[in-house]
């Protein structure tokens, strides 16, 4: 429901909202431009009387002097029967230039207010502002749900792709957008009478004036008591009409001034309604608040980006919704596949499972978990594939599953298996899948095989699960589903450095470059014909497709796109297909590869210390982070290898980084040296210092094998105990990141 409330208004109003936002961003420049051109003397220095006197000296035919909220002073005058308007310097009364509202800004303002369509357009703009308000509020609620509560809104975000970009931008801009939408909706509602407008007729014209000899304007008592910065407008009396008066409007109210006595007549303070309305107007336009205007303008610029990423998310969700031709009715199916999905990624896997089972001869019914029937009369298999939403909650298509499960009558023949999808960066990894597994066991169903959890949509783990399931139910089951078919490019091995042969841990640093990159001027000339490289940074993953159509394997990148090379660090696994393939490459050989972004694994920037921990080939991305630390932020590296002589990866580079202070401290442990130390031992030795750094906000990044990561986590639990913290607390704050293989 919340998601529909966010998506539908967004999609419908996107074109209008983008127009409003872009024009709004342009208009937001006006207050700053006006302010830059205005002469604003300090408060208390120049009175209206003095300013008016100097202006009249230059403009004998002055009819009206207006000061706008930016501080610009405009004089309207009449000379030789012709009306004119000039910007003047309020201190000297001299002309600064002709006053002519910019035709461009006027046009943009009309586009912003009414799409150049007058009243119907104004109505559309008002409705768009209200929709924007709805989108902002529902978006904040969605983001809070996704991050695990309102308090978690400012924490680093997990996730990847359009969803993450959308959430990051929205989080930065939402307050500005809310303010613009709220004030815009108010002004429009008032324009169309939905909110009553307080009438402010101003003071009535004085019945009596002294009618004596008019004084020069700079000798009028009432005007000498008003500071220039409080002036809004001063209207001069009609020439040669002794019964006429000056009309004065200040920030506090308005009244009249007797041109002979200089007395203030009929002054009426501004009504509260008018003050409120003016403030709402200022908060919307930034008039006189140039800094706010600029902030709102920048926030508005996020709207086109949010519209595009939002539309992409919507399209991806739609594409992956359940629409299969060979779906069998629930009552006739012998295999039931239920899907719990938020963004739709899980549905793709469910479809692959359905196809695999159908091919193996099953009659398959696939549905959302919320569509759980009361019973499945002829089914023998119940397979549940589900992701987990936010802080361990059910995803959108499974919100009512637990409730429906209470009324579910399971036949004695029905067996089940649960497959959970998630991201290990989230603190409650696959929690919902685990709960579903328990609940099904609690209903007395028998388990085909234990619950399996898949990290970040790993296609390889999915097909492994499939073959185990096939074994368990006695049919061959070949499942393959890669969520987004990657666009690959050819890489050529440029150079390699080999380590660890002597200690039975052959590890190589491989540097690739784009295979088709030409040399010399032709490459510039024919640049557009070459495949465009995606942007990548150290910590992102390089997917390598081994020959013979095997599943892609992922390696953490140690380099960034700006380095011009793709650098990975690969340990040769015994019997490892892809690592063996890579280790067999010679310079000049080519591989097919693609980039998978991994923005969740990045060091924070700023003065807080970053503690990098790795073992073996896990040093790759960590070395990349250090190489990029040109800001010389405090960075400490703990790294474990086998032997200083054989597999000390990046040894020369690390020495260099220590020298130029890109790396603050280095601690190594070698398991086949005399002391037989592991990286965990080094952490324990330094626990006081580490605890202190954590206390000051340090971030920990761990990269390496699963066992080493588990060991490191255990040490950190010990280190954190005196601080009354757990690793999970740090993880929830984005301060404990793991890249584990």
């Amino acid at each position: 429901m919340l998601r529909k409330l966010h998506g539908l208004p967004g999609l419908i109003a996107a074109v209008f909202l983008v127009t409003l936002a872009v024009t709004g961003a342009i208009l937001a420049l006006a207050p700053a431009l006006d302010r830059a051109g205005a002469v604003v003397p300090p408060a208390g220095e120049i009175s209206v009387a003095r300013m008016a006197g100097r202006v009249v000296a230059n403009y004998p035919g002055t009819e009206q002097i207006v000061r706008d909220l930016s501080g610009q002073v405009v004089v309207y005058y009449s000379r030789d029967g012709q009306a004119g308007a000039d910007l003047v310097n309020p201190v000297t009364g001299e002309r600064l230039g002709a006053y002519q509202p910019s035709a461009f800004f006027v046009w943009i303002r009309d586009l912003h207010r009414s799409f150049l369509l007058d009243t119907p357009g104004r109505m559309m703009a008002g409705i768009s502002a209200a929709l924007m308000l709805l989108v902002c509020l529902s978006g904040m609620a969605l983001l809070a749900r996704r991050s695990g509560g309102w308090g978690a809104l400012m924490r680093p975000l997990a996730g990847t792709g359009s969803k993450r970009v959308h959430a990051e931008i929205a989080r930065l801009a939402v307050l500005g957008l809310l303010l613009s939408a709220l004030t815009g909706s108010f002004l429009s509602a008032q324009r169309f009478g939905l909110i009553p407008e307080v009438a402010d007729p101003g003071p009535g014209f004085p019945a009596e004036v002294s009618g004596g000899q008019p004084r020069p304007v700079d000798q009028l008592q009432a005007l000498s008591e008003v500071d220039l910065n409080d002036l809004r407008e001063l209207v001069f009396p009609y020439p040669d009409d002794p019964r006429d008066v000056y009309s004065l409007t200040t920030s506090g109210g308005s009244g009249f001034i007797d041109q002979a006595s200089g007395e203030l007549l009929q002054f009426q303070p501004r009504s509260t309604g008018s003050v409120v309305r003016q403030w709402i107007m200022r908060l919307h336009t930034g008039e006189g608040l140039w800094w706010l205007g600029l902030l709102l303008g920048v926030a508005a610029l996020s709207v086109p980006a949010l519209s595009v990423t939002g539309a992409v998310i919507w399209w991806q969700r739609r594409r992956s919704s359940l629409q299969t031709r060979d779906n069998v009715a629930a009552a006739e199916a012998d295999a039931i596949v239920l899907v719990g999905s938020e963004g739709g990624a899980t549905r793709g896997f469910a479809r692959a499972l359905q196809t695999g089972l159908t091919r193996a001869g099953f009659r398959v019914h696939c549905a959302d978990m919320n569509a759980l029937a009361d019973s499945y009369p002829v089914a023998s298999l119940l397979l549940v594939l589900t992701s987990t939403y936010g802080d361990g909650d059910a995803p959108a298509s499974a919100g009512r599953f637990m409730e429906r499960l209470r009324d579910f009558r399971a036949g004695s023949a029905l067996k089940y298996a649960v497959l959970g999808f998630g991201d290990r960066q989230f603190p409650n990894f696959c929690r919902f899948a685990l709960e579903v597994d328990e609940a099904l066991a609690g209903k007395g169903l028998s388990q085909i095989q234990p619950v399996e959890l898949i990290d970040r949509c790993s296609a390889a783990r999915f097909s492994e699960w499939g073959s185990r399931l096939g074994n368990a139910i006695g049919v061959p089951l070949a499942l393959s589903h890669d969520p987004v078919p990657p666009r690959t490019f050819r890489l050529e091995l440029a150079e390699r450095a080999d380590y660890g042969q002597a200690v039975q841990a052959p590890t190589s640093i491989l540097r690739f470059r784009l295979a088709d990159a030409g040399q010399g001027w032709q490459s510039w000339f024919f640049r557009s014909g070459r495949p465009r490289l995606p942007a990548f940074e150290a910590g992102d993953l390089l997917g390598i497709l081994p020959p013979q159509g095997q599943e892609a394997r992922f390696y953490s990148l140690a380099s960034s796109a700006s380095d011009g090379v793709f650098e990975i660090c690969v340990r040769k696994q015994p019997g490892g297909l892809c690592s063996g393939y890579l280790h067999g490459l010679q310079p000049g050989d080519c591989v097919e590869a693609f980039i998978r972004r991994n923005p969740g694994f990045r060091p924070v920037t700023g003065a807080v210390p970053v503690i990098l921990i790795g073992a073996g080939a896990g040093i790759g991305p960590l070395a990349g982070f250090i190489r990029k630390n040109t800001a010389r932020n405090p960075m400490y590296l703990y790294w474990g290898g086998r032997s200083e002589d054989s597999d000390f990866l990046y040894q020369p580079e690390l020495g260099h980084y220590l020298e130029d202070r890109r790396l603050t401290g280095l601690s190594t442990a070698f398991s086949r040296s005399d002391e037989k130390a592991y990286v965990q031992d080094r952490l324990r030795q330094d626990q006081t210092a580490l605890r202190q750094m954590i206390d000051t906000g340090a971030q920990v990044l761990v990269c390496g094998g699963r066992d080493m990561a588990a060991g490191v986590k255990q040490v950190f639990e010990e280190i954190l105990q005196p601080l009354r913290l757990e690793v999970e607390d740090l993880r929830a704050q984005g301060r404990y990141l793991e890249d584990v293989y």
């Binding site: 009819e63 009206q64 309207y76 009306a83 509202p101 402010d200 014209f205 209207v235 009309s247």
Partner: protein, 156 residues
Amino acid sequence: MKKILLALGLALSVALPALAQAREVTFTTELTDYRGDGAYLALYLTDASGAYQGTLWVAGRKSKYYKHLRGWARGSRLDPAEYDGLTGASITSGRTLKITLDLDDALIDSGYEVRVDTAVEDMRDNRADVAVPLTTGGAGTPVPGRGYVRSFRYDF
């Protein structure tokens, strides 16, 4: 076109058969291309010394902006009874406003003046953009305005 019988509070004209002494007058106000939103206009009569006598027409529907038509606002005191039934839409840049009213003969050649005040949002207010005596001799002769009015004339 509007035809409105204008009673300007002259007791004499009420006492006599009114229609015999009324004359149809057409006021034509052409605006310049001032490049702005719709202009608010007030056409009104003053005596020779410039004192307000009565409203002829107000273009622009939002009364909250009427205070910018300064000369007229002062004279009429923005009393709705003064302009009831004498209002219409605002006039956009470059367009022409044409109104026909029945005026009492006594108002012509008697020192009365027609004035036009104009105002546009975010632009200057023009009190007495046009000020022209209402005379038989002046009929049919266009006069230029000082502000947003390019030319103004009246025809009997």
